[in-house]
Protein backbone atom coordinates (compact mmCIF):
# COMPACT_ATOMS: atom_id res chain seq x y z
CA UNK A 1 0.00 0.00 0.00
CA UNK A 2 1.37 3.41 -0.97
CA UNK A 3 2.00 6.04 1.63
CA UNK A 4 -0.62 8.33 0.09
CA UNK A 5 -3.30 5.61 0.11
CA UNK A 6 -2.37 4.70 3.66
CA UNK A 7 -2.57 8.33 4.60
CA UNK A 8 -6.09 8.60 3.12
CA UNK A 9 -7.26 5.58 5.11
CA UNK A 10 -5.73 6.88 8.30
CA UNK A 11 -7.33 10.26 7.78
CA UNK A 12 -10.76 8.64 7.54
CA UNK A 13 -10.13 6.55 10.63
CA UNK A 14 -8.94 9.50 12.64
CA UNK A 15 -11.50 12.02 11.48
CA UNK A 16 -13.83 11.29 14.38
CA UNK A 17 -10.96 11.51 16.84
CA UNK A 18 -9.86 14.82 15.42
CA UNK A 19 -13.36 16.20 15.71
CA UNK A 20 -13.85 14.74 19.19
CA UNK A 21 -16.29 11.83 19.61
CA UNK A 22 -19.62 12.68 21.29
CA UNK A 23 -19.83 11.43 24.83
CA UNK A 24 -16.07 11.01 25.12
CA UNK A 25 -14.18 13.50 27.26
CA UNK A 26 -11.91 15.57 25.03
CA UNK A 27 -8.54 15.31 26.70
CA UNK A 28 -6.60 16.46 23.70
CA UNK A 29 -5.79 20.13 23.63
CA UNK A 30 -4.57 19.94 20.02
CA UNK A 31 -7.89 18.63 18.69
CA UNK A 32 -9.78 21.17 20.80
CA UNK A 33 -7.95 24.17 19.49
CA UNK A 34 -6.99 23.57 15.88
CA UNK A 35 -7.26 21.04 13.12
CA UNK A 36 -4.40 18.82 12.14
CA UNK A 37 -4.04 20.60 8.83
CA UNK A 38 -4.09 24.12 10.28
CA UNK A 39 -1.32 23.25 12.67
CA UNK A 40 0.94 21.12 10.49
CA UNK A 41 0.70 22.43 6.90
CA UNK A 42 2.60 25.66 7.61
CA UNK A 43 5.60 23.44 8.42
CA UNK A 44 5.45 21.30 5.27
CA UNK A 45 8.35 23.07 3.56
CA UNK A 46 10.48 22.97 6.70
CA UNK A 47 9.89 19.24 7.17
CA UNK A 48 10.70 18.49 3.53
CA UNK A 49 13.84 20.65 3.54
CA UNK A 50 15.04 19.03 6.74
CA UNK A 51 14.42 15.58 5.21
CA UNK A 52 16.52 16.55 2.17
CA UNK A 53 19.35 17.74 4.40
CA UNK A 54 19.22 14.62 6.55
CA UNK A 55 19.09 12.11 3.70
CA UNK A 56 20.73 13.88 0.76
CA UNK A 57 18.01 12.55 -1.51
CA UNK A 58 14.97 14.42 -2.83
CA UNK A 59 13.09 11.18 -3.52
CA UNK A 60 13.71 9.76 -0.04
CA UNK A 61 12.89 13.15 1.48
CA UNK A 62 9.49 13.27 -0.22
CA UNK A 63 8.70 9.76 0.98
CA UNK A 64 9.85 10.60 4.51
CA UNK A 65 7.79 13.78 4.55
CA UNK A 66 4.66 11.81 3.70
CA UNK A 67 5.51 9.24 6.36
CA UNK A 68 6.09 12.02 8.88
CA UNK A 69 2.63 13.46 8.25
CA UNK A 70 1.05 10.02 8.42
CA UNK A 71 2.71 9.35 11.80
CA UNK A 72 1.79 12.84 12.94
CA UNK A 73 -1.83 12.25 12.09
CA UNK A 74 -1.82 8.98 14.03
CA UNK A 75 -0.25 10.65 17.05
CA UNK A 76 -2.09 13.97 16.77
CA UNK A 77 -4.41 13.34 19.75
CA UNK A 78 -1.34 13.01 21.96
CA UNK A 79 0.02 16.44 20.99
CA UNK A 80 -0.44 18.41 24.21
CA UNK A 81 1.21 21.64 23.18
CA UNK A 82 0.13 22.86 19.72
CA UNK A 83 2.69 25.67 20.01
CA UNK A 84 5.50 23.14 19.67
CA UNK A 85 4.08 21.38 16.64
CA UNK A 86 7.14 22.21 14.50
CA UNK A 87 9.53 20.58 16.97
CA UNK A 88 7.10 17.67 17.23
CA UNK A 89 7.14 17.13 13.44
CA UNK A 90 10.95 17.32 13.43
CA UNK A 91 11.01 14.75 16.22
CA UNK A 92 8.86 12.34 14.19
CA UNK A 93 11.00 12.87 11.10
CA UNK A 94 14.30 12.38 12.92
CA UNK A 95 13.02 9.12 14.43
CA UNK A 96 11.98 7.89 10.98
CA UNK A 97 15.44 8.74 9.64
CA UNK A 98 17.07 6.93 12.56
CA UNK A 99 14.87 3.86 11.96
CA UNK A 100 15.78 3.79 8.27
CA UNK A 101 19.48 3.96 9.00
CA UNK A 102 19.19 1.22 11.58
CA UNK A 103 17.28 -1.15 9.30
CA UNK A 104 19.26 -0.24 6.18
CA UNK A 105 22.65 -0.46 7.90
CA UNK A 106 23.67 2.92 6.51
CA UNK A 107 25.78 3.91 9.47
CA UNK A 108 29.13 5.30 8.42
CA UNK A 109 31.95 3.79 10.49
CA UNK A 110 34.09 6.43 12.20
CA UNK A 111 37.56 6.19 13.64
CA UNK A 112 38.22 5.97 17.31
CA UNK A 113 36.81 8.98 19.14
CA UNK A 114 40.19 9.95 20.58
CA UNK A 115 41.68 10.27 17.09
CA UNK A 116 38.61 12.09 15.89
CA UNK A 117 38.61 14.61 18.71
CA UNK A 118 42.31 15.24 18.18
CA UNK A 119 41.72 16.13 14.53
CA UNK A 120 41.93 19.84 13.79
CA UNK A 121 41.10 21.18 10.34
CA UNK A 122 42.66 24.50 11.36
CA UNK A 123 45.98 22.79 12.12
CA UNK A 124 45.90 20.65 8.97
CA UNK A 125 45.40 23.69 6.76
CA UNK A 126 48.25 25.51 8.52
CA UNK A 127 50.56 22.50 8.18
CA UNK A 128 49.78 21.79 4.51
CA UNK A 129 49.54 25.45 3.48
CA UNK A 130 47.63 24.76 0.26
CA UNK A 131 47.67 28.40 -0.87
CA UNK A 132 51.20 29.65 -0.09
CA UNK A 133 50.61 33.13 -1.52
CA UNK A 134 47.39 33.73 0.40
CA UNK A 135 47.14 36.29 3.19
CA UNK A 136 43.94 34.65 4.35
CA UNK A 137 44.87 30.98 4.13
CA UNK A 138 42.07 29.48 6.22
CA UNK A 139 39.38 31.70 4.75
CA UNK A 140 40.51 30.99 1.18
CA UNK A 141 40.52 27.28 1.91
CA UNK A 142 36.93 27.35 3.16
CA UNK A 143 35.73 29.43 0.22
CA UNK A 144 36.72 26.66 -2.21
CA UNK A 145 33.89 24.39 -1.06
CA UNK A 146 30.76 24.26 -3.17
CA UNK A 147 27.25 23.29 -2.09
CA UNK A 148 27.71 19.67 -3.19
CA UNK A 149 31.00 19.32 -1.32
CA UNK A 150 29.37 20.36 1.94
CA UNK A 151 26.27 18.26 1.35
CA UNK A 152 28.42 15.21 0.56
CA UNK A 153 30.60 15.82 3.61
CA UNK A 154 27.49 16.10 5.74
CA UNK A 155 26.16 12.82 4.41
CA UNK A 156 29.34 11.11 5.57
CA UNK A 157 28.59 12.17 9.14
CA UNK A 158 26.82 9.33 11.00
CA UNK A 159 23.12 9.99 11.35
CA UNK A 160 23.32 10.20 15.16
CA UNK A 161 25.53 13.31 14.79
CA UNK A 162 24.10 14.59 11.51
CA UNK A 163 20.54 15.14 12.75
CA UNK A 164 21.45 17.56 15.57
CA UNK A 165 23.95 19.33 13.30
CA UNK A 166 21.42 19.89 10.51
CA UNK A 167 18.76 21.02 12.98
CA UNK A 168 21.23 23.45 14.51
CA UNK A 169 22.42 24.87 11.19
CA UNK A 170 19.11 25.08 9.36
CA UNK A 171 16.58 25.64 12.14
CA UNK A 172 18.73 27.53 14.64
CA UNK A 173 17.36 25.42 17.51
CA UNK A 174 18.79 25.92 20.99
CA UNK A 175 20.43 23.01 22.83
CA UNK A 176 17.29 22.70 24.97
CA UNK A 177 15.07 22.52 21.86
CA UNK A 178 17.42 20.01 20.25
CA UNK A 179 17.26 17.84 23.36
CA UNK A 180 13.49 18.04 23.16
CA UNK A 181 13.38 17.02 19.49
CA UNK A 182 15.96 14.26 19.87
CA UNK A 183 14.62 12.98 23.17
CA UNK A 184 17.98 13.05 24.94
CA UNK A 185 19.71 15.14 27.65
CA UNK A 186 21.33 18.48 26.77
CA UNK A 187 24.75 17.01 27.61
CA UNK A 188 24.24 14.35 24.94
CA UNK A 189 23.28 17.04 22.43
CA UNK A 190 26.51 18.89 23.22
CA UNK A 191 28.73 15.85 22.74
CA UNK A 192 26.92 14.86 19.52
CA UNK A 193 27.32 18.34 18.08
CA UNK A 194 31.00 18.38 19.01
CA UNK A 195 31.71 15.00 17.46
CA UNK A 196 29.51 15.74 14.46
CA UNK A 197 31.47 18.91 13.73
CA UNK A 198 34.74 17.01 14.07
CA UNK A 199 33.57 14.33 11.62
CA UNK A 200 32.46 17.11 9.28
CA UNK A 201 35.86 18.83 9.51
CA UNK A 202 37.53 15.54 8.68
CA UNK A 203 35.18 14.94 5.75
CA UNK A 204 35.92 18.40 4.37
CA UNK A 205 39.63 17.70 4.65
CA UNK A 206 39.13 14.43 2.74
CA UNK A 207 37.21 16.40 0.12
CA UNK A 208 40.12 18.84 -0.20
CA UNK A 209 42.47 15.90 -0.72
CA UNK A 210 40.24 14.41 -3.41
CA UNK A 211 40.00 17.78 -5.14
CA UNK A 212 43.79 18.07 -5.14
CA UNK A 213 43.99 21.22 -3.03
CA UNK A 214 46.42 19.51 -0.65
CA UNK A 215 49.28 17.12 -1.32
CA UNK A 216 48.24 14.42 1.10
CA UNK A 217 45.86 12.81 -1.40
CA UNK A 218 47.04 9.38 -2.65
CA UNK A 219 44.47 7.68 -4.92
Amino acid sequence: MGVEQNLRQQSSLKASQLAGSPGTPDLHSSSRCSSFEELTVPHLHAVYRLAVRLTGSAVTAEDLTQETYLKALQAFPSLREPSRVRAWLFQILSRLVTDRHRSGNHEVPIEELTDLERFSLYDRIAEEDPFPYSDRLHQDFLSQFEDDDVQRALQSVPEVYRTPLVLLYTEELSYRELADVLGCPVGTVMSRLYRGRKVLERALWDCAKRRGWVKEWKP
Binding site: V3, E4, L7, R8, S11, S12, K14, A15, L18, A19, S35, F36, E37, T40, V41, L44, H45, Y48, R49, V52, R53, A58, E62, T65, Q66, Y69, L73, S120, L121, Y122, H138, Q139, L142, S143, F145, E146, D147, D149, V150, Q151, L154, V166, L168, Y169, T170, S174, Y175, M190, L193, Y194, R197, L200, E201
Partner: protein, 82 residues
Protein backbone atom coordinates in the same frame (compact mmCIF):
# COMPACT_ATOMS: atom_id res chain seq x y z
CA UNK B 1 40.71 30.28 36.94
CA UNK B 2 43.22 29.99 34.10
CA UNK B 3 42.08 28.05 31.07
CA UNK B 4 44.43 25.99 28.93
CA UNK B 5 44.18 26.51 25.15
CA UNK B 6 43.08 22.91 24.65
CA UNK B 7 40.20 23.38 27.09
CA UNK B 8 39.28 26.70 25.51
CA UNK B 9 39.15 25.21 22.00
CA UNK B 10 36.89 22.44 23.21
CA UNK B 11 34.33 25.03 24.29
CA UNK B 12 34.31 26.99 21.03
CA UNK B 13 31.32 25.24 19.49
CA UNK B 14 29.21 25.72 22.60
CA UNK B 15 30.31 29.36 22.69
CA UNK B 16 29.42 29.89 19.02
CA UNK B 17 26.03 28.27 19.62
CA UNK B 18 25.36 30.84 22.41
CA UNK B 19 25.03 27.99 24.88
CA UNK B 20 27.89 28.89 27.21
CA UNK B 21 26.91 30.94 30.24
CA UNK B 22 28.02 31.98 33.73
CA UNK B 23 31.51 31.25 34.95
CA UNK B 24 32.58 29.05 31.99
CA UNK B 25 31.67 31.90 29.61
CA UNK B 26 33.55 34.48 31.69
CA UNK B 27 36.60 32.22 31.91
CA UNK B 28 36.65 31.60 28.18
CA UNK B 29 36.26 35.28 27.32
CA UNK B 30 39.05 36.11 29.75
CA UNK B 31 41.27 33.57 27.99
CA UNK B 32 40.36 34.99 24.58
CA UNK B 33 41.37 38.48 25.67
CA UNK B 34 44.88 37.18 26.29
CA UNK B 35 45.38 34.48 23.65
CA UNK B 36 45.68 35.55 20.01
CA UNK B 37 46.09 31.98 18.75
CA UNK B 38 42.78 30.92 20.30
CA UNK B 39 41.10 34.03 18.86
CA UNK B 40 42.25 32.98 15.39
CA UNK B 41 41.07 29.42 15.94
CA UNK B 42 37.71 30.68 17.16
CA UNK B 43 37.36 32.91 14.11
CA UNK B 44 38.07 29.90 11.88
CA UNK B 45 35.38 27.85 13.66
CA UNK B 46 32.96 30.75 13.20
CA UNK B 47 33.78 30.95 9.48
CA UNK B 48 33.43 27.19 9.06
CA UNK B 49 29.99 27.32 10.69
CA UNK B 50 29.08 30.18 8.35
CA UNK B 51 30.18 28.24 5.26
CA UNK B 52 28.17 25.15 6.23
CA UNK B 53 25.09 27.24 7.06
CA UNK B 54 25.31 29.12 3.78
CA UNK B 55 25.73 25.93 1.74
CA UNK B 56 22.74 24.33 3.45
CA UNK B 57 20.48 27.33 3.08
CA UNK B 58 19.70 27.01 -0.63
CA UNK B 59 16.66 24.80 -0.45
CA UNK B 60 13.40 25.55 -2.16
CA UNK B 61 10.73 22.89 -2.40
CA UNK B 62 10.17 21.90 -6.05
CA UNK B 63 6.65 22.67 -7.30
CA UNK B 64 5.91 19.02 -8.19
CA UNK B 65 6.88 17.87 -4.73
CA UNK B 66 4.81 20.51 -3.03
CA UNK B 67 1.79 19.64 -5.20
CA UNK B 68 2.01 15.96 -4.32
CA UNK B 69 2.45 16.61 -0.62
CA UNK B 70 -0.39 19.11 -0.55
CA UNK B 71 -2.61 16.62 -2.38
CA UNK B 72 -1.97 14.12 0.40
CA UNK B 73 -2.83 16.69 3.01
CA UNK B 74 -5.93 17.79 1.13
CA UNK B 75 -7.29 14.30 1.68
CA UNK B 76 -6.92 14.87 5.40
CA UNK B 77 -8.84 18.11 5.14
CA UNK B 78 -11.66 16.31 3.32
CA UNK B 79 -11.77 13.61 5.97
CA UNK B 80 -12.10 16.26 8.67
CA UNK B 81 -14.99 17.91 6.81
CA UNK B 82 -12.94 21.11 6.47
Amino acid sequence: MNLKCEEAVRQFFTYLDHSLAGEPLETLEEHLRECLDCCERLEFSRQLDGVVRARLEAGIVPAGVEDRLRKCLANLKGAQGG
